[in-house]
């Protein structure tokens, strides 16, 4: 697992992808931070984080698109799948490498909190709640992207597919509100990623929320393993 993680991490920073992702993170978060707090003299960071939610929805797939798609195309999956490594470890290694890069981009959000604290009193509960929410939703986006990347040989297809999946995940609550059948609507609401996310942004650290996000990540990783397994049996 560590071998795969190390290789993936070094691949991110040998190609421009890692740098581009982090730069995009810094650029957007910096802009939102200035626009929604500094320029209007507010310490409410929820909008800044919400902005990043949408940015990551679109940009995390750029990070995850090559994870398996490229292996499928270059036939290097033959090396990984014939090595004495369990599939779950392989998938976990891939996930963690992409998640590390994601967190490198995300961690800057905490620095903004520190910067603000020099000029005003800051509600750290809200900042940390938002930060946790973004970190957790990031894990969901990374695992979803990894899953889609396993399905195809084309990085382009993987990227577009993951963006579509992320948007669908984020919009579950919207979809649920327009469905007239009560129990389907309720069920969808129950798995709404955005509702859980919103809970955190009010500064409430909910354990059930954490478990929910981790479960979604595990489901996507499990699906990824199944796709790799299925290829063996096809």
């Amino acid at each position: 697992m560590t071998a795969i993680m190390k290789r993936e991490l070094s691949a991110y920073f040998k190609s421009p992808i890692g740098y581009v992702f982090i730069a995009v993170s810094f650029l957007f978060s910096g802009f939102f931070f200035w626009f929604f707090t500094l320029s209007v003299g507010s310490t409410d960071v929820s909008t800044v984080f919400l902005g990043m939610f949408y940015v990551y929805m679109i940009f995390v797939p750029v990070l995850t698109m090559r994870l398996m798609a490229d292996e499928n195309k270059q036939r290097t999956d033959q090396l990984l799948l014939t090595a004495p490594v369990g599939l779950m470890r392989l998938v976990a290694g891939k996930f963690l490498s992409a998640y590390c890069v994601f967190m490198l981009g995300d961690i800057v959000m905490l620095i903004y909190g520190v910067v603000m604290s020099f000029f005003a009193s800051v509600n750290w509960a809200i900042i940390l709640g938002n930060f946790c929410a973004l970190a957790l939703i990031g894990a969901v986006f990374v695992s979803a992207g990894l899953f889609v990347s396993t399905l195809t040989e084309s990085q382009m297809v993987a990227a577009i597919g993951s963006i579509a999946l992320n948007v669908a995940l984020a919009l579950i609550n919207v979809i649920s509100s327009v469905i007239p059948v009560q129990f389907i609507s309720d069920a969808l609401r129950g798995i709404s990623v955005f509702d859980r996310y919103y809970e955190f942004t009010t500064g409430i650290f909910s354990l059930s929320g954490v478990i929910f996000f981790i479960s979604v990540v595990v489901v996507f990783m499990f699906l990824t393993v199944r796709v790799l397994e299925r290829r063996r049996w096809a």
Binding site: A3, I4, A11, Q74, A83, V85
Partner: protein, 332 residues
């Protein structure tokens, strides 16, 4: 040791591999020979656990690849048809990645140095894999298979893309490794298999058509009472002369070798040597024999015979054509 029992792989109604069984002992190089699309790579992919079989079992050192894939895979070094290389890594980075991926316990530096010496990668170790030539890429792929000193080596067309000197080096290397490893190598190049392998499994359309040592395979299928001759002169007359020899049973006129020179396939009674009679008869009529050899099949011919069922490579068909021409049927 590798044991394969009744292996079948179906893709829908098509059977890529159909009921294959064979065993490769330790210290043996087994050649997997067959035309393109015969099912060689599919079998190798099953053996290495990359894909699964539809039916049947494969054991690596007694471990079923489906029951305990991780253990079975730890015995195997695999060089797929297309070497699985990461182009953005240097040779050294790549090999140390493979080293940790395989959870290798041997002392890292000396082990990797040894492998690089074996496959002669010394001077390119610091270079990016994407900038290497095809031959070097193939060698890096080979090196990757050797990491961890696995007991079983599965090599899918290991000499593709190498120059003749490298091919000889790799063959020597495979022979050397074969002494204390189990090696399976696939190829459609016959001299390669003949030069390197102790045992040959010929596979065609997913089925095993022969499984024997290299020498026996050629010997069993050859027959020294069959002769091939090149004789200068009119083919009809020569055929008559040859047929008139007492022990000769059949004579085919084969292709035209040169102007007024034809190839003849002579089949005598089994165990009878008719070479002297043929010489005397033809000499008496002043027909020079330009070539005479017993029809000991080369592996190439054995291969064609096994996979197409045609021993004379079209000569028989030509014969019937001549017959019909003589009878005037063809002119219609």
């Amino acid at each position: 040791m590798i044991e394969v029992r009744h292996l079948t792989k179906s893709y829908g109604p098509k059977k890529a591999v159909n009921d294959i069984s064979f065993t490769a002992e330790e210290g043996q190089v087994l050649g997997f020979l067959g035309p393109n699309g015969a099912g060689k790579s599919t079998t190798m992919n099953i053996l290495t656990g990359y894909i699964s079989s539809t039916e049947g079992q494969a054991f690596i050192n007694g471990v079923d690849i489906l029951e305990d894939p991780i253990k079975a895979k730890s015995f195997i070094g695999y060089l797929p048809e297309q070497p699985p290389l990461y182009f953005d890594m240097t040779v050294d980075e790549y090999l140390s990645f493979v080293y940790s991926l395989k959870k290798c316990k041997l002392p890292k530096k000396s082990h990797l140095n040894e492998i690089c010496d074996i496959v002669k990668l010394g001077d390119v170790r610091g270079r990016l894999i994407k900038n290497l030539s095809k031959g070097y890429k193939q060698r890096v792929g080979f090196a990757q298979a050797l990491v961890g000193n696995p007991k079983v080596l599965i090599l899918d067309e290991p000499t593709v893309g190498l120059d003749p000197k490298q091919i000889i080096e790799i063959r020597t290397l495979i022979k050397r490794l074969g002494k204390n490893h189990t090696v399976i190598l696939s190829s459609h190049i016959l001299p390669e298999v003949q030069a390197v392998c102790d045992r040959i499994v010929v596979i065609n359309k997913g089925r095993i058509v022969a499984n024997d040592n290299a020498d026996t395979l050629a010997r069993n299928l050859s027959a020294d009472h069959k002769l091939v001759l090149h004789i200068e002169g009119g083919s009809d007359e020569i055929k008559k002369i040859l047929t008139s020899i007492g022990d000769v049973e059949r004579v085919f006129v084969g292709r035209q070798v040169d102007e007024r020179v034809y190839e003849y396939h002579v089949e005598a009674k089994e165990g009878v040597d008719v070479r002297r009679d043929i010489f005397k008869k033809l000499a008496a009529r002043n027909y020079p024999i330009l070539l005479m050899r017993s029809n000991e099949l080369s592996l190439e011919e054995v291969f064609l015979k096994l996979t197409t069922g045609d021993e004379y490579g079209g000569a028989e068909k030509l014969e019937t054509k001549f017959d019909r021409m003589e009878k005037g049927e063809e002119s219609k």
